[in-house]
C-alpha cells in the first residue's frame, strides 16, 4: 500500500506539469491581456507598452511558461498582475470561507442522502421512495441562482428569519450564532444540488447489495431486518459513496461562483471568475493548479479508501 501511494504520488508530478502546460496555453490563447483592463480615455500607448513589459507580457509564451514554472518550483505562485498581491495570499484569504461553506454543505448533503437512499432502497416503490426520488430530481434540476433567490424571498424577505447574504452582520467581533445564521441558506442551496445524485447512488448500490446471496442467507438465519441492512448490507453499499467522496473533494476548494454571488460569500469561485475577466494569468494558474492537486489527491484517497473498506481490492 505504501509503495502504491508513493508511486501514485510520483506519477502525479508529470501529470501536474502536463496540466500546467495545457492550462497555461489555453488561458494565454484568450485574446487581450491584463493591460487592456487599464485602458481609459487618458491611457498613453507608451504607458501600456511599459506596463506590458513590466508584467513580462512582451516575452514569448514559452519563456513566460518557464519563468512561471521556475517560480512555482521554489514555492512562489507569483504576483497578481491586476492587484499586485501575492497569489498565495489571495487564495489563502478566501480558502477558509470556501472550505466552511463547501464542507458544511457536503456534510449536509451526505447526512440527508445516505439515510434517504437506504430507506428508498429498502422500501422500494413505496410512497417514501417516490417522494424522495421526486425531491431528488427536483433538487438536481433547480438552478442554483433561482433556488437561492427563492430561499431569500421566503426566509429573508417574507418570514424575516435569516439574513439574505454576507458572512456576518456583526462587523466588530466574532459571534457564532451570527455566522451560523449566514451559513444556513447558502449551504442548503449548495447541498440541494448534489443531494440528488448521492441519494440515487446510495439507493442503487443498496439495491444491488440486498439482492445478493449473503443477504438472503442473513435473512434466512432469522436476523432482524435492522441488523441485515445496517450491519451486513450498509458496509458494502457504502463503497461507491467512498469513491464519490473522493471525487467530490476538489469541490471543497473550487468554490461555487453562482451561490457565492447570490449570497455575497467571499470564496474562491468569485476570485477565479474575476481573474479570468481581467486575464490575471498568475491567479488563474494558481487556482487551477490547486484544483488539479485536489483532483489527484481526491482520486488517490478514493482508491486507498476503497482498498481499506474492501479487502478484496489489493494494489500492488
Amino acid at each position: 500500500m505504501f509503495v502504491y501511494t508513493f508511486r501514485r504520488t510520483l506519477l502525479a508530478i508529470p501529470l501536474l506539469i502536463m496540466i500546467s502546460i495545457i492550462s497555461f496555453t489555453i488561458i494565454n490563447m484568450a485574446p487581450g491581456d491584463v493591460t487592456s483592463m487599464f485602458i481609459n480615455p487618458d491611457s498613453d500607448p507608451a504607458d501600456i507598452a511599459a506596463l506590458r513589459a513590466h508584467f513580462g507580457l512582451d516575452k514569448p509564451l514559452l519563456v513566460r511558461y518557464f519563468i512561471w514554472l521556475g517560480r512555482v518550483l521554489t514555492g512562489d505562485l507569483g504576483t497578481s498582475m491586476w492587484v499586485g498581491r501575492p497569489v498565495l495570499d489571495m487564495i489563502m484569504e478566501r480558502l477558509p470561507n470556501t472550505l466552511i461553506l463547501a464542507g458544511v454543505s457536503m456534510l449536509l448533503s451526505f447526512a440527508v442522502a445516505i439515510p434517504f437512499g437506504i430507506i428508498s432502497a429498502t422500501k422500494r416503490y413505496s410512497i417514501f421512495d417516490y417522494t424522495s426520488t421526486t425531491f431528488a430530481f427536483v433538487g438536481l434540476s433547480l438552478p442554483n441562482f433561482w433556488f437561492g433567490l427563492m430561499l431569500i424571498l421566503l426566509f429573508s424577505l417574507k418570514l424575516g428569519w435569516l439574513p439574505s447574504g454576507g458572512m456576518r452582520a456583526n462587523f466588530d467581533e466574532f459571534e457564532l450564532i451570527d455566522r451560523l445564521r449566514h451559513l444556513i441558506l447558502p449551504a442548503i442551496v449548495l447541498a440541494t444540488g448534489t443531494m440528488a445524485s448521492k441519494t440515487r447512488y446510495m439507493r442503487s448500490s443498496m439495491l444491488e447489495v440486498i439482492r445478493q446471496d449473503y443477504i438472503r442467507t442473513a435473512r434466512s438465519k432469522g436476523l432482524s431486518e435492522r441488523v441485515v441492512i445496517y450491519k451486513h448490507a450498509l458496509k458494502n453499499a457504502l463503497l461507491p459513496i467512498i469513491t464519490l467522496f473522493g471525487l467530490l473533494l476538489p469541490s471543497l476548494v473550487s468554490g461555487a461562483v453562482i451561490t457565492e454571488s447570490i449570497f455575497s460569500w467571499p470564496g474562491i469561485g468569485r476570485l477565479v471568475v474575476e481573474a479570468i475577466w481581467t486575464r490575471d494569468y498568475p491567479v488563474i494558474m494558481g487556482v487551477n493548479m490547486m484544483g488539479a492537486i485536489m483532483v489527484i489527491i481526491g482520486s488517490l484517497i478514493a482508491d486507498i479508501g476503497y482498498a481499506l473498506a474492501d479487502p478484496r481490492i489489493k494494489y500492488n
Partner: protein, 543 residues
C-alpha cells in the same frame, strides 16, 4: 418505525435551526449602528494614485480629502483650501492656499510638500498610474511656504481645475508613502502596503478590508471640518444585483447606490408601501453610443449614418428596455451641463426618412432585400461587450429596424477585455457600442480631434477616425476660452456639427438610481465623478 425515528431526528434538527434563527433576531446590541453601504464588486486599491474604480472613490471620499470639491449643484467649493485658487491674468498660474491645522490620521500636519509629492509620484517615469494627464500640463510647481504654493501651466487650459476635485488627486501623506515609493523603485503598485492600509486627512479612518467581503471605516475625531457624526461605515461587497436589492429590502444594507434601471419601479413601490426610504433618480455624465468606423467606405457618407440614426426608435427603446430610466441623447453633452445645446438636429424615429436618405446616397435595394452601391453591400457588424443585456437588446432592435430599411446586420460580441483591448484599440469594428463617462466640463478633444486618431497619431480616443477642421478649431478654442458665455457658444456649435455629422450615434444619457433610508440625514446625490459619498462628513442618523 425507523421512518418515524428519522422524522423525529429531522424535527429536532429543524427546531435547532429555528432556535438559531430566532436568537439572532434579538441579539442586537446597543452599540451605535454602523452605516452599511452596498456595492457590486470588491475594490483593488485604496491608494488614490492607482485607483480606477468608482467603488474605490466612494470609500476614499471617507479616507482622503481633495483641494477642491464639486458640490451637488455642480459648483467648485474649497475643501483642503482656504478659498478657491486664484488665477493670474494670463490664465496660466494658479495660487493655492491650504487650510492650517489639517492633520492626517496619524496626527502629522498636511503641507504644500504633500501636494508637490503627489505630482512627483504621478510624473515619475515607470510609475504605472492610470492617468498623468493632469500633471503633464504643469510647467512649474513653486512652494511658497508650508501652506501656499503656485502652479503654472504650459499652456492655457480652462478645464484643468476640475480634476483636482476627483479621487485621482486626493492628497496622500508624503511622510508615509515616500518610503514605499522609493523602495519600489520610484513606483507604486496595488499590492503595496498603502493600497491596503491608507492614511489620509478625511473624516473617516481606515480600519480593515476583508477581500470580497467588506471595508470598514471609523470616524476620525480630529477631522478638519469637525468630528463626523457617524461612528462606523461598512462598505459591503454583494456581487449580484438581485442580492443587493434583497439585502436592501431586508435592511442588511442601508444604502443601495447605483441600482439597476429595472429595479427602480420596485424601489418606488417599496417606498409607496410605507418603507422609510428615499429613492433618487438623476441624470449622470455617462452616455451610451454606437460608433461608426469612418474608415469603412459604407460609413463615409454621412447620409448612411443619419439614416441608421433615423431608423432606430430611441424613445421607445428607453421606455421599454430601460423602463424610462434614461434620457435620449443627441450629442455628447447631457442636459444637466451648462454647455448643453437643446437645439441640435434630432433624430426622432422615422424609417421613411431613413430610406429616402439611403436612396439619395445611391444605395439600391437588391433582389435579396439588401441595398448595394458600386458592388458593395450595405452589410456590417455590430459589436459590444457580451453579457450586457441592455446593449444586447439595443443590438436586437437595431438589427431588426436596420434590416427593414435594407441593411444586413451581423451581431458579433466579445467579452469586455477583448472588446476594449483588441477590437476597439486595434480598430477592428464596423459599429461598436459602449459608454463614455465624461467630466462635467464639456471638453471632448480626445474623442473628435484629428490629432487624436490612435492608428494615425498613436494617441487619443478618436477610434472612429473623425476628421473635421472646424471641429479641431472649436475643440482647441474651447480649451483656451476663459469667458464662460463665449465657451458655451463654442460647444453649442460643436454639438450642432456632431449631431449633423453623426460620427457616433448618440443613444442615451444614463440616469442613476440610489436608495437611502430617510433616517440618513444630509445625503445629497452628486452626478459627477465625485460620487454620492462626496459629502460623507456631513452625514448623520436622524435623532
Amino acid at each position: 418505525m425507523k421512518t418515524v425515528k428519522r422524522l423525529m431526528v429531522l424535527l429536532v434538527l429543524s427546531l435547532l435551526v429555528v432556535a438559531v434563527t430566532a436568537c439572532g433576531g434579538q441579539a442586537q446590541k446597543e452599540a451605535p449602528k454602523p452605516l452599511v453601504w452596498g456595492m457590486l464588486s470588491d475594490i483593488e486599491t485604496l491608494n488614490p494614485i492607482l485607483s480606477e474604480s468608482s467603488n474605490e472613490t466612494d470609500i476614499m471620499n471617507g479616507i482622503f480629502s481633495t483641494l477642491i470639491k464639486v458640490n451637488d449643484k455642480l459648483e467648485f467649493v474649497p475643501d483642503l483650501l482656504e478659498e478657491l485658487p486664484t488665477l493670474s491674468p494670463d490664465g496660466l498660474t494658479y495660487t493655492f492656499k491650504l487650510r492650517k491645522g489639517v492633520t492626517f490620521h496619524d496626527g502629522v500636519e498636511l503641507t504644500s510638500e504633500d501636494v508637490k509629492f503627489l505630482m512627483d509620484m504621478k510624473l515619475a517615469e515607470g510609475n504605472a498610474v492610470p492617468s498623468r494627464d493632469h500633471f503633464s500640463k504643469v510647467d512649474k510647481f513653486e512652494i511658497i511656504d508650508k501652506y501656499n504654493f503656485k502652479i503654472t501651466l504650459k499652456e492655457l487650459d480652462v478645464t484643468w481645475l476640475e480634476a483636482w476635485a476627483y479621487s485621482e488627486n486626493m492628497i496622500p501623506p508624503k511622510h508615509i508613502l515616500e518610503k514605499e515609493f522609493k523602495e519600489n523603485g520610484n513606483s507604486l503598485t496595488k499590492g503595496g502596503n498603502f493600497s491596503r492600509k491608507p492614511i489620509g486627512t478625511g473624516p473617516y479612518q481606515f480600519v480593515e478590508w476583508k477581500p470580497n467581503e467588506y471595508i470598514m471605516l471609523k470616524k476620525y475625531d480630529k477631522y478638519f471640518k469637525g468630528a463626523p457624526k457617524l461612528d462606523t461605515i461598512v462598505f459591503k461587497v454583494i456581487p449580484d444585483t438581485n442580492a443587493l436589492l434583497a439585502q436592501f429590502k431586508n435592511g442588511e444594507i442601508d444604502v443601495y447606490d447605483k441600482a439597476q434601471p429595472n429595479q427602480y419601479k420596485e424601489l418606488v413601490a417599496m417606498k409607496d408601501k410605507g418603507a422609510a426610504i428615499e429613492v433618487f433618480k438623476y441624470p449622470a455624465f455617462i452616455y451610451l453610443h454606437a460608433d461608426f468606423n469612418l474608415r469603412n467606405p459604407i460609413f463615409q457618407d454621412k447620409r448612411v449614418r443619419q439614416a441608421l440614426n433615423y431608423a432606430f426608435p430611441k424613445q421607445q427603446f428607453i421606455e421599454t428596455v430601460l423602463d424610462g430610466i434614461g434620457t435620449p441623447a443627441d450629442s455628447n453633452i447631457p442636459p444637466i451641463s451648462w454647455a448643453y445645446n437643446p437645439n441640435v438636429r434630432k433624430y426622432d424615429y422615422n424609417p421613411d426618412k431613413a430610406k429616402q436618405l439611403l436612396d439619395e446616397a445611391g444605395w439600391v435595394v437588391g433582389p435579396d432585400g439588401v441595398r448595394t452601391k458600386d458592388g458593395m453591400k450595405l452589410a456590417f457588424k455590430l459589436s459590444t461587450n457580451s453579457g450586457n443585456k441592455i446593449r444586447e437588446k439595443f443590438q436586437e432592435i437595431a438589427k431588426q429596424e436596420w434590416e427593414a430599411i435594407g441593411a444586413k446586420v451581423e451581431i458579433q460580441n466579445y467579452e469586455a477585455a477583448t472588446l476594449f483591448g483588441d477590437i476597439l484599440e486595434n480598430i477592428k469594428f464596423d459599429i461598436i457600442i459602449f459608454a463614455w463617462v465624461s467630466g462635467f466640463d464639456p471638453d471632448s478633444k480626445t474623442l473628435w480631434h484629428s490629432k487624436q486618431i490612435p492608428d494615425e497619431t498613436g494617441d487619443g480616443q478618436n477610434y472612429v477616425g473623425y476628421k473635421n477642421p472646424r471641429v479641431d478649431e472649436l475643440l482647441e478654442a474651447g480649451l483656451k476660452e476663459t469667458d464662460i458665455e463665449k465657451r458655451k457658444k463654442i460647444y453649442w456649435e460643436l454639438q450642432e456639427i456632431l449631431a449633423e455629422e453623426v460620427p457616433y450615434m448618440f443613444i442615451y444619457y444614463y440616469n442613476n438610481i440610489t436608495a437611502v433610508p430617510t433616517s440618513l440625514v444630509n445625503f445629497k446625490v452628486n452626478p459627477t465623478q465625485a460620487n454620492n459619498t462626496w459629502n460623507i462628513w456631513e452625514w448623520e442618523w436622524k435623532k
